[in-house]
């Protein structure tokens, strides 16, 4: 710990813990390249598991398992149509989050002023 006296620390409220938990869970779900690619594709078009599998050149259970997690975190919704189950983003907020994340990721590594 520390000895130093920091003035007015009481004034800074620590953020709502439950909210942070929930938000972190969403970020965690977005924090895997494979899942993020899935979401990127779904942000353009509703797609079924076999389509996603084909596009990503992956295997079906892997894709399905990732979608399951994304569904659990309410980032995607599903809709059955005959033999196929189509997935799409849950809402516009998710889309925005993904866009912002990708936008930041593509920034020129802001090493302008300091360390």
């Amino acid at each position: 710990m520390s000895d130093c006296e920091h003035a007015k620390i009481e004034k800074i409220e620590v953020a709502d813990s439950e909210l942070c938990e929930r938000a972190a869970a969403i970020f965690r779900a977005l924090g895997d390249p494979n899942r993020l690619k899935l979401l990127c594709l779904l942000s353009k078009k509703e797609l079924c598991v076999s389509e996603l599998t084909q596009i990503l050149a992956d295997n079906v259970p892997a894709v399905s398992q990732r979608l399951k997690l994304l569904k659990l975190e309410r980032l995607v919704k599903q809709r059955r149509q005959g033999k196929h189950i189509f997935y799409r983003l849950a809402d516009a907020h998710i889309q925005l989050l993904i866009e912002n994340g990708l936008a930041h990721g593509s920034e020129p590594t802001t090493d302008s002023n300091e360390e």
Copy 2:
């Protein structure tokens, strides 16, 4: 794999892989409640390790280690002033991402229309 023929699949471009990796790394860093709380605090005010430790009622090495990871992912920057090392968010994009994430996390669990 699958037998079914999905038309026009070629037309859907898979997102840039490196970009997804980078964006996912950012999301992953945001995807932990402890780190997210740190960032929330830093989004309000530049703070040093001992202040953060005190506010979060945690121990110094734990906080320091989290900040190290956040620095590695370029989400925060640091500045030394005497004995203290002050941390702040790296840029406005990060702030936006955090705000969006928290905003979505606080949504009323959109269970309106479908499963």
